[in-house]
């Protein structure tokens, strides 16, 4: 059965979770993700799931910790200031190896900032916003359809690795209305057994969910295991879209909503005869470093990174390029959105 709906990105994200069999949602209101908490409130009621409007983002993320520990597919969502509050909980979830999905519809910062779209939580998302050596798998969709698809997929990935997955959107993606196609048969969640979950110890040894390891060397061992898992994820979960890499001398790198503007600018530039390509990282961690590195070994002489930040992802691009090519950056901050004209002007300046 196929349905075409007009939805805002926040609602599409919520529907992706429902299709994935998410049965637990806890959240706290904050713009620009309010449509998501409202949608989950409605949908959880319809599917007999659990919806809790928590007293804070702290409580919400720790409720997700509890629901995940009990073996349920669980999600929370927020926007930048609220996601900052969740960081302690995310570190605990990663440490205790619990699967869950977290959504951040980024807004301008620092501090209370504003409610306009931004991408200034990149470092927080991919470098580990909380304490300890841990990693969160980060997907950056760039449309309402992708918000649905990647949120759906995030639950399978989270379960597979027993690791939190973050959907990193922004206020633009969250609030913009777009058509979304749902072909029911295409959304079959891969539900796995969770023998580690807390269910009561009937017929088995007690299970313990924890991130605390006191014994001598025990925490180092735990960390080594986590790093091993992160290596597996790095090898298996890189996702990116590439355009015109074969013949391009300038390659733009942009993610999320900005990647759409970048693509339009790329097309305008090519219409003017400038050979421009685009790499759009979809997984921000693991980062598509190899794709970028390979491009730097090809024809590409210059990379142009476009972000709605002062320049965060650009550091990962530079690490991947490792001095092989020039890396230029153009960004807008505090809710400023790079326009197609601005990007095109930057491309022309690079020629």
């Amino acid at each position: 059965m196929s349905k075409k709906l007009l939805m805002c990105g926040n609602e599409a994200c919520g529907e992706g979770a429902v299709l994935a069999g998410c049965k637990f949602y806890a959240g706290y209101p904050i713009t620009p993700q309010n449509e998501l908490i409202a949608y989950m409130g409605k949908r959880m009621g319809e599917i007999n799931g659990i919806f809790i409007q928590a007293e804070s983002e702290l409580a919400a993320i720790n409720m997700v910790f509890g629901a995940a520990a009990a073996g349920e597919r669980a999600m929370t969502s927020s926007s930048s200031p609220g996601v900052s509050l969740k960081q302690e909980g995310i570190s605990y979830i990663a440490g205790a190896e619990l699967p869950c999905v977290i959504v951040n519809m980024q807004r301008g910062g620092p501090g209370l900032g504003n409610i306009a779209p931004a991408q200034s939580d990149y470092f927080q998302s991919v470098k580990g916003g909380g304490h300890g050596d841990y990693k969160v798998i980060v997907f950056a969709p760039s449309s309402a359809q992708e918000l649905l698809d990647y949120t759906f997929m995030a639950f399978d990935v989270a379960d597979k690795y027993r690791n939190p997955v973050l959907i990193l959107g922004d206020g633009l993606l969250g609030q913009m209305m777009e058509p979304v196609t749902i072909i029911k048969e295409n959304y079959k969640p891969h539900l796995v057994e969770k023998p580690w979950a807390l269910t009561g110890c009937k017929g088995r040894k007690p299970n313990i969910v924890r991130s605390f390891f006191l014994g001598e060397g025990a925490l180092e061992e735990h960390n080594k295991r986590l790093q091993e898992k992160y290596r597996t994820i790095t090898n298996a979960e890189v996702r990116a879209q590439t355009f015109n890499l074969k013949d391009s001398e300038i390659v733009i790198v942009a993610y999320g909503s900005v990647a759409r503007t970048a693509k339009a600018a790329m097309e305008s530039a090519r219409a003017k005869g400038i050979k421009v390509g685009l790499i759009r990282p979809i997984s921000l961690w693991p980062f598509p470093s190899k794709i970028i590195k390979d491009a730097s070994f090809g024809r590409c002489k210059k990379f142009l990174v476009i972000e709605m930040s002062s320049g965060q992802m650009v550091e990962d691009v530079m690490l991947a390029v490792n001095g092989k090519s020039e890396v230029d950056f153009y960004g807008r901050m505090g809710g400023g959105i790079p326009t197609e004209e601005e990007v095109l002007a930057r491309i022309e300046a690079l020629v």
Binding site: K23, F24, A54, A60, N62, L198, G200, K202
Partner: protein
């Protein structure tokens, strides 16, 4: 050690009397409590409360359906002692974790175990809102008047004039405010079914504490 000696004396006494020895077990470790040494300081109330919780769980025969949430505090490794499913929780977020576990698994019996730093300071919001939502969970609140694990600092429950490592001249009401009356605050919430303040400083009080734990878990169990 003492117990063994007593047995020996008894045996030789009954041998002398020519009687057959009949041993009746009157006291043993609850099944829900693991047979390991505890790390608690000698005389610490945590070990007593752990035992009482386990005795009640055994008596209710709910060991295979109970899920405990250990706090951040001296009882952080309660799962080393409790022989049933246990989750940790971030400092103070214990009731939020318990809320979700109980909602996801309504047939399980879910309880938190929290110190006064955990429950009455950093986690005040979580306990009040879990109580106000009327979550069907039990909370065992162990108030020792200080932050034990971090070295005896002042807690919100520290008494006026009480000396701690962060109130060396005694708690000053002017500077530090009044001891927080957590139970009185919770008592006004309609979501709360049963509250009792007990102590474990004497044998009689320990019995009363056990009755209270039994009631608290019983209220949740009967829903």
């Amino acid at each position: 050690m003492k117990k063994k000696n007593r047995k020996k004396i008894n045996r030789s006494a009954s041998k002398r009397a020519g009687k057959k020895v009949e041993e009746k077990l009157v006291f043993s470790r609850p099944q829900s409590l693991r047979d390991v040494d505890m790390h608690y300081c000698a005389g610490c109330g945590h070990s007593i409360v752990h035992r009482l919780v386990c005795e009640v769980i055994d008596e209710f025969k709910i060991r295979d359906r109970v899920i405990g949430i250990a706090p951040v505090g001296c009882a952080v490794i309660a799962y080393d002692y409790w022989d049933f499913d246990v989750s940790e929780a971030a400092h103070g977020r214990t009731p939020a974790v318990a809320t979700a576990i109980k909602r996801v698994r309504p047939d399980n019996i879910v309880f938190t175990y929290q110190g006064d730093g955990d429950l009455a300071a950093i986690g005040t919001a979580e306990i009040i809102h879990a109580a106000n939502r009327g979550e069907n969970i039990t909370v065992i609140f162990v108030n020792n008047g200080v932050y034990g694990m971090t070295g005896g600092q002042m807690a919100p429950t520290t008494l006026a004039g009480q000396k701690t490592s962060t109130s060396i001249a005694g708690r000053s009401l002017r500077n530090d405010g009044y001891p927080l009356k957590m139970l009185e605050m919770l008592a006004v919430l309609p979501g709360v079914r049963y509250l009792e303040r007990v102590s474990v400083h004497s044998a009689q009080e320990i019995f009363r504490a056990k009755r209270a734990i039994s009631k608290a878990l019983g209220v949740v169990k009967s829903y």
